[in-house]
């Protein structure tokens, strides 16, 4: 298969730096705008839920953070695998950029879930709940990835070794997810998670989806900003970087 001509540019640090710099402000602005609109719509305009009342409004934040966290891990593993197989340093830079953002969003999912759990289940934390468990394990896997990277002095080695961990992790994420779910369904003492969902009415669904879009755009905006910082770090001393900042001393 012949790659299109523009494709090779994604391996060039200066080009990707400029591309990320051009895209990031738009993504961030669009993401924040969507979150503002979605939050107002969801928290003020949308009607309260028939059964959960006002508490249900966590669905305008909580599922989005959880989804971005999982997407970040998948993206990280794919980028790390690309970097490992074809030895593309920029792909490793993408993987490293995704990890802290994904960990933060996963942590946010745990926190928002706890805030919702208190009034709904009567407890902030329920060890028996499969989703809490798989989110917590996902957070630990993010932190393990970051800890492993931090232990290496040599960045190339850190790239290659942590890429293997990311791939092993992404193979395990679905196994962990489903085994934790079966574990609970086998136990099933109190069925606190029985939210048999009727189809969401449009007045709730539209702000929900706007928030999903907003969080996704925000994630990619943050990712590109971190990627820029990562490129500067990796390319420090390179000529094109010095040309970008004429006054700076190397």
């Amino acid at each position: 298969m012949k790659l299109p001509v523009w494709f090779h540019r994604f391996g060039s640090p200066p080009w990707v730096y400029g591309f990320a710099g051009a895209c990031a402000p738009w993504l961030l602005a669009a993401g924040l705008l969507a979150i503002a609109v979605g939050a107002y719509w969801g928290l003020v305009i949308a009607p309260p839920d028939a059964r959960q009342g006002e508490v249900y409004r966590i669905i305008y934040i909580h599922p989005q953070t959880a989804y971005v966290g999982m997407m970040a891990y998948t993206l990280m593993a794919i980028a790390a695998a690309i970097g490992f197989i074809w030895r593309i340093k920029l792909a490793h830079a993408v993987a490293v950029s995704a990890a802290p953002i994904g960990a933060t969003f996963t942590f946010g999912a745990l926190i928002t879930g706890a805030i919702w759990g208190r009034p709904t289940w009567g407890t902030y934390w329920e060890w028996g709940d499969p989703r809490i468990m798989s989110e917590l394990l996902l957070l630990l896997m993010f932190l393990g990835y970051l800890a492993l990277r931090a232990a290496f002095d040599d960045r190339d080695k850190a790239d290659r070794v942590s890429a293997i961990l990311a791939v092993v992790g992404v193979v395990n994420v679905p196994i962990i997810h489903f085994s934790v779910e079966w574990w609970n369904s086998l136990h099933q003492t109190a069925s606190i998670m029985q939210l048999d969902k009727p189809a969401m009415p449009a007045s709730m669904l539209v702000p929900f989806l706007i928030m999903v879009a907003g969080f996704t755009l925000l994630f990619y905006g943050l990712l590109l900003r971190r990627l820029q910082a990562g490129i500067v770090d990796r390319e420090s001393g390179a000529r094109w970087l010095r040309d970008l900042a004429p006054g700076a001393t190397p």
Binding site: L140, G144, L148, K157, V168, N172
Partner: protein, 233 residues
């Protein structure tokens, strides 16, 4: 040739391990110590899950958890023997340079590690299980579930050890890398024993663990070999 390399590595690692008594006895003693300390941390009158319920029931549930956690911690113990010692004296590099495929070296090391630091533990399970008042049937299923699932633990621990092979004193990281990944094996392993305790069929979780073990044993060494190459290149 690949199989011969496997046998040679296995024999060499077993020999090295059995030259020093502490190599194979420490995980066992550690396992016993962990089993002894758990009940101390929990006051006996709290073992009844509900007022009026038997305390034996709580002791049995605790026993299953303790034995599984003990096996997990014990398999983390001897992991320096996997790659770190060989990497420090340079023999790992020689093994990687040898014409034998690295995968068969890895299989040999995994088998030796499992035989030295995990298998004795499985043999000890009936004793510890008895002290936690597990029924003979549940003890047998627990030992069987450990026998089936410990290859998963060994492979995952070895992945952690291979990833950190050239990091001095980074063994603490391995726990963080490995423990989240072992949760499926832990869930099904403990579940099998609980089902046997309730006199129900434990076949389903055992099959699950068997499939996890087949996956870990067939795919894991590829990741281990890649990690060793990435760490030492």
């Amino acid at each position: 040739m690949p199989f011969r390399a496997f046998l040679l590595i296995l024999r060499r690692d077993l020999k090295v391990a059995f030259r020093r008594v502490s190599e194979w006895s420490l995980p066992l003693l550690f396992f016993i110590a962990v089993s002894a300390l758990f009940p101390l941390a929990l006051s006996p009158d709290r073992l009844a899950m509900a007022p009026g319920e038997s305390e034996v029931y709580g002791m049995q549930s605790l026993g299953i958890a303790v034995i599984w956690m003990g096996a997990l911690l014990a398999s983390l113990m001897g992991l320096d023997r996997l790659f770190l010692n060989d990497s420090e004296d340079g023999s790992l590099e020689q093994l990687m340079l040898s014409p034998a495929p690295l995968i068969s070296v890895v299989y040999g090391k995994l088998a030796a590690h499992w035989l030295v630091s995990v298998l004795p533990l499985v043999i000890l399970v009936p004793l510890v299980g008895l002290s936690y008042r597990l029924t003979p049937g549940a003890t047998a299923v627990l030992a069987l579930s450990l026998l089936i699932a410990t290859p998963v633990l060994t492979v995952l621990v070895a992945i952690g050890a291979a990833l950190t092979v050239n990091l001095r004193g980074a063994t603490a990281i391995i726990g963080l890398l490995v423990l989240p990944l072992v949760s499926p094996a832990l869930i099904f392993g403990a579940r099998a024993a609980v089902l046997a305790l309730d006199a129900e069929s434990a076949a389903a979780p055992l099959y699950f663990n068997a499939s996890l073990a087949i996956m870990a044993v067939s795919l894991g060494p590829v990741a281990i070999a890649a990690a060793l190459r990435a760490g030492l290149e």
